[in-house]
């Protein structure tokens, strides 16, 4: 199919009839500004092919101009090698006419619509028209599967491949499988159970939970039953009347035995207490009697002692007076000795002071001698020092002199060696005739180191001069400098020659030796503090030696002997005094003690007299006390007999404890059994109550019921799980097969798409979904979904898919025009240029109509340039034009 011309009247924005004429094979470009009506023209073209002239579809209504009217569309096209003109008017002026311009055959109205459908269907034109129509942004919208165009394309593809046979059945089966799976599982990832499957799972879980609870309840009930049986057995034993009576009788007997034993023991203890009381009373009576008798004895003894005590008091007074006299004597002797000793000590001190003064004078004399020797040594040293100060040659100065002297000698030797040597040898008789400066020269050799003028009398003069050279001149200059230096050194040292200097240095060293020796001697004489210390010591000793002090009358030894004697006397006197003092103290203490004893005795005598009755009443009291003692003794004997009797009857503590324990245990056993019976009855009642509840709930039946139900639920769930697994496997296999079929199914598209993709995206490949929409793009090993691509890339791919469709249709003999209505909105200039290459390629195979508002950009795109022009109603000229175009 190929469009040749489109003409419109009373359509959309056009206020006048317009036409686009001259569409040709290959590429056709209509460039115009926005709202120029490009899209309207081709919407009307589409309407003419797809909408019946009788329709009032809203798309048709939308084509009515604002000013009203009936849209009229006329299309010239070629199908199957024949040229056709389709004219349709809609709404109020509805009509349809299909004219074969090749044969002149015309059909109108419904016939025209039917013929048009037959024409396009047979040739594959109409169904694909909308498919290949890419409107503004519309290229991005995938084709609905139910679209005629999509169906038509599928038919074309199916016709080209044979391998998809059976694919539709597989899809139907998969739909059914999915429906069954959907009844079991949700669409989540991973899927979740739902419906009966979910109910079955939950039912099984619930039954398992219920069964676990029921089993626990049943087990508890069975345990209760077992426990109840045990308790019943125990209850039977415990509630046996014989057992109860025997237990009570044993308890009563044990209690009686314990009570009897306890009473006997109490009586024994009372008897023991009575014995103890009687013993106490007897002891008291005896004590009273013994005290009375003792008081009488003491009274007698004290009275006798008082009589004797009077003589003793007199003796003590006499003795004390004697001792006091001896004490006075001893103290006087001691004082005398002490005074003598003090005098002797004074005398001894004076003797010692005299000795110290004499010793100081002797020592002072020695120090004065030392001081004189030191002064002499100092004086000698000063003399040596003054001699030394005159000598100016030092070892360093001597070394310098030696050096200079040596230099002078070596230079002189050198100059002498270089100087001419004159040897005068007089002929006999001629001695002395050669003179120099009037002085005769002796024979022998002479050095000539300067100009020498020899006079030989009668002969004349001979001038001899040494040779002149730089070296000699330099040596002489150097020699002069050294000689001058040597002269200065001699002057500084105060010597005339090196020998003098050597001697002076030797002298100097001798003087220094002597000074050192003088210093050593002085050091040996002086103390550590030097001369000043020596003088200080002399002054101190002089003061000591000149101090006051009488000379001693006696020698110190005599005095010391006297002192020793006096000390012996003093010791004796002090010992005698001390002995007398001790004796006095003893005597005094004895006197005091005696006085105290006498007083105490007198006091006790008074107390005893006060305590005792009058002497006349004392015998009666003695008799009374004896009678009381006898009564107590008899009472004690009676108590002892009573105690002995009970002791034989009473148990010992262990026996009583055993009896008490036995009685207590017997009583406790009775109590315990009573309590046990009560507890048993309560436990039995409690268990019976619980078991009644268990029975009412049929706990065992419940378990059996749940076990049966769980078994059935498990089987049902197992079947469902098998069913689900089978459906999932089946779905998976069907899906895999569908994918394989789809790959095969879409291959015709993919193969035709590849060249375009390679032009625009070199090296890339694109996949197409089942709905023919681009699915993904792989570039540089990265595959991206279409949604992830830019809008520009998306629209380019969508356009290329349309081109591939067009190519497929053309290749299968059903060529239809591909119409791109401003389909590249987001593409940049570079990509548009690549798309132009795709357009040019596509236009070699089918008609391609490109509408664009981007005139400048699309100016570089070759092809028929179309324009919107007024519709020339001259049918003849139009027909001619069409005929030539179809030819």
């Amino acid at each position: 199919m190929k469009i040749l011309a489109v003409r419109l009247a009373e359509v959309g924005c056009f206020s006048r009839a317009v036409a686009v004429e001259g569409l040709g094979d290959g590429l056709n470009v209509l460039a115009g500004e926005n709202e120029a009506g490009k899209s309207t023209i081709f919407a009307a073209l589409r309407m003419a092919f797809e909408q019946s002239h009788k329709t009032a579809h809203r798309d048709v209504e939308a084509m009515r101009p604002y000013s009203g009217g009936a849209p009229l569309v006329e299309v010239d096209f070629v199908v199957g090698g024949e040229t056709w003109r389709l004219r349709k008017q809609y709404l109020t002026g509805r009509m349809a006419e299909l004219r074969n311009l090749t044969t002149g055959q015309v059909s109108r109205g419904t016939d025209a619509e039917e013929n048009l459908t037959a024409l396009l269907t047979q040739k594959g034109g109409r169904p694909a028209l909308s498919l290949l129509w890419a409107s503004q942004k519309g290229a991005l919208t995938p084709l609905p599967p139910s679209e005629d165009a999509a169906i038509g394309l599928k038919r074309v593809i199916s016709a080209e491949i044979a391998a998809t046979a059976g694919g539709s059945e597989a899809r139907h089966v998969r739909v059914a499988v999915r429906a069954e799976l959907d009844a079991y599982l949700t669409g989540h990832k991973p899927p979740r159970p739902r419906g009966d499957y979910d109910i079955a799972i939950k039912a099984k879980l619930r039954l398992e939970s219920d069964l676990a609870l029921a089993v626990a309840r049943r087990d508890a009930a069975l345990v209760r039953l077992d426990r109840l049986s045990e308790l019943k057995t125990q209850e039977t034993e415990l509630c046996d009347p014989g057992r109860i009576a025997a237990r009570a009788d044993a308890s009563a007997k044990a209690a009686t035995a314990a009570a009897t034993a306890r009473d006997a023991l109490q009586k024994q203890r009372a008897a023991a207490d009575a014995v103890s009381g009687a013993e106490s009373r007897l002891a008291l009576a005896r004590s009273k009697r013994e005290i009375f008798e003792a008081d009488l004895k003491r009274l007698a003894a004290l009275t006798a002692e008082a009589i004797l005590d009077q003589d003793l008091s007199r003796d003590l007074a006499t003795s004390l007076a004697d001792v006091e006299a001896r004490v006075t004597e001893a103290r006087d002797a001691r004082n005398i000795a002490r005074n003598a000793l003090v005098q002797a000590d004074c005398e001894l001190k004076a003797a010692r002071e005299a000795e110290r003064k004499q010793e100081a004078q002797q020592r002072l004399s020695g120090l004065n001698q030392t001081l004189a020797a030191a002064d002499e040594a100092i004086r000698a040293g000063l003399e040596l020092k003054s001699k030394l100060d005159v000598l100016r040659v030092t070892p360093d100065l001597l070394r310098t002199i030696r050096t200079e002297d040596d230099a002078v000698r070596r230079l002189e030797d050198r100059l002498a060696a270089a100087a001419p040597r004159l040897t005068i040898a007089y002929a006999p008789g001629a001695e002395g005739r050669i003179t120099q400066n009037g002085t005769s020269l002796a024979g022998g050799a002479h050095l000539v180191d300067r100009t020498l003028v020899l006079e030989i009398a009668g002969v004349g003069t001979i001038e001899i001069a040494p040779g002149v050279s730089d070296d000699a001149t330099t040596a002489q200059d150097t020699l002069a400098r050294h000689r001058a230096a040597l002269a200065r050194l001699f002057a500084d040292a105060g010597v005339a020659s090196l020998a003098d200097a050597e001697r002076q240095l030797t002298h100097r060293q001798q003087l220094e030796q002597e000074i050192a020796e003088a210093r050593a001697r002085l050091g040996a004489l002086l103390p550590a503090g030097g001369l000043a210390k020596l003088k200080t010591d002399i002054d101190a000793l002089a003061a000591t030696a000149s101090g006051n002090g009488d000379d001693a009358i006696r020698s110190r030894a005599d005095i010391e002997r006297d002192i020793d004697a006096i000390r012996q006397d003093l010791i004796k006197a002090e010992a005698a005094d001390e002995a007398a003092q001790r004796k006095l103290a003893v005597e005094r203490e004895a006197s005091v003690r005696h006085a105290a004893t006498s007083a105490d005795r007198a006091k006790r005598l008074d107390e005893l007299e006060d305590k005792l009755p009058a002497p006349a009443a004392r015998p009666a009291l003695a008799l009374e006390l004896q009678d009381a003692t006898n009564v107590c003794e008899r009472a004690l004997h009676a108590a002892v007999r009573e105690h002995t009797a009970w002791r034989e009857q009473a148990p010992d503590p262990d026996q009583l404890q055993a009896l008490e324990t036995s009685a207590q245990r017997a009583a406790e056993a009775v109590t315990a059994e009573n309590r046990q019976r009560e507890e048993l009855r309560r436990s039995v009642a409690s268990l019976e109550g619980e078991l009644r509840a268990d029975r009412n709930d049929e706990v065992e039946a419940r378990v059996a019921e749940l076990q049966g139900a769980l078994e059935a639920a498990t089987q049902r769930l197992d079947r469902m799980e098998d069913d689900v697994a089978a459906l999932q496997l089946l779905d998976s296999e069907l899906r895999a097969e569908e994918m394989r079929s789809q790959d095969q199914y879409l291959r015709p598209i993919s193969e035709r798409l590849a060249p375009y993709v390679d032009l625009v995206f070199p090296g890339a490949d694109i996949t197409v979904a089942e709905n023919f929409a681009p699915a993904s793009l792989r570039r540089a090993n990265d595959r991206e979904t279409i949604a992830a691509l830019s809008e520009g890339t998306q629209e380019q791919l969508a356009v290329m898919v349309r081109l591939a469709f067009g190519r497929l249709m053309a290749d299968t003999g059903s060529a239809v025009p591909v119409i791109l209505d401003d389909a590249l909105v987001y593409s940049d200039d570079e990509r548009i240029l690549r798309m132009f290459m795709a357009f040019i390629t596509a236009a070699r195979h089918h008609q391609l109509i490109v509408l664009t508002c981007r005139s400048r950009t699309f100016s570089g795109l070759d092809g028929h340039r179309l324009k919107i022009a007024p519709w020339q109603s001259d049918a003849q000229s139009s027909d001619r034009h069409l005929l030539s175009a179809s030819a």
């Binding site: 059976g166 089966v173 059914a176 039953l225 029975r695 065992e700 039946a701 098998d722 089978a726 296999e733």
Partner: protein, 376 residues
Amino acid sequence: MSFTFIHTADWQIGKPFGEFAGDKPGVLRQARLEAIDKIAAVARQRGAAHVLAAGDIFDFETGSSLLVRQLVQRLASHRDITWHLISGNHDPARASSVWDDVRGAAPPANVVLHLDAMATEIARGVVLLPAPLKAKSCVSDPTAWMDHTPSPEGSMRIGLAHGSVTGFGSEGDAAVPIDPTRPRTAGLSFLALGDWHGTKRIGERVWYSGTPEPDSFPDNEPGHVLAVTLDGPTAVPRVETVRTATYTWGKRALNVTAAEDLRSLVDEVTSLGPDAQRHLMHVAITGRAHLAAHLAVGRLLSDLEPSLFHLNADITQFAALHEMSDLALFGTGALRTVAERLSSQAGNDDVRHSRVAAQALLKLAHIASNTAGGAA
């Protein structure tokens, strides 16, 4: 003088039947209670005034008081019949068991509980020696005491016990040994036993009556009572087996290779007519059939199910063939490819995966056959 009585056992009133869905459990429970009416009717027909029930009257020892009242009222309603009941291993007569409630329900004189091993003259010259169980199991023979229990000279001694008679393979679920020679050692005219749910003759004087109403798919013969007539202490008892079952539980095993192999089953069910609604059937199908036949068998079983009270079809051992002719049903397109892949996987060593793949193939065939223009 002769004495006729009805020997029954294992009523197991209150059995829950939890494995059944819907109202079936209630129906089956009710049928066990109504069996009492049938037993009473048989007794009347046979002129028997006494019914001896050999234990397991209740399914559980923790049966509810409501259940007890239902039983007692139903027994009491048959005033002309004296019911002699002993406890079994399902309902041992221990403290606070279901029997306490029975006693508490004050049963009338025609309901006699024999819960202690004590000889009782139940009719002139007829002494009943009951051996009730007081525990779910016991190691000693509960009938041993009968050997040493005298009874008046010339009386007919009837033993009534619940347990397993060793040596004949009658092991029921009670761990209670009973010596089958007890009639000889204890001078019994008849020993009426319970526990074995099928009717079973152990000896001329020793019988299991079985349960009067079946409760499972058994290998024995449940659903009967015994009408026993004693013509004298030493005379051989005359025993008549009388059917009492309301519901029939049957097992069938079929080897199927084609749908036709189910014909006998279908005919059997068809021949039952309305009575099929009182039949429970367990059908175990084995064998291998072509895919189409397998589908047909499934459809037949589905059609058969509503005819019966209950159908339990076990087809786990019934496999479908995956031969070329079977796969040809899927044509040559995508479905065929899928079917071939599933067939291959069905031969997998992994049993589970193999089973799933086989089922998936069946599912594919089923869906494809239901799809318009489908292959199958």
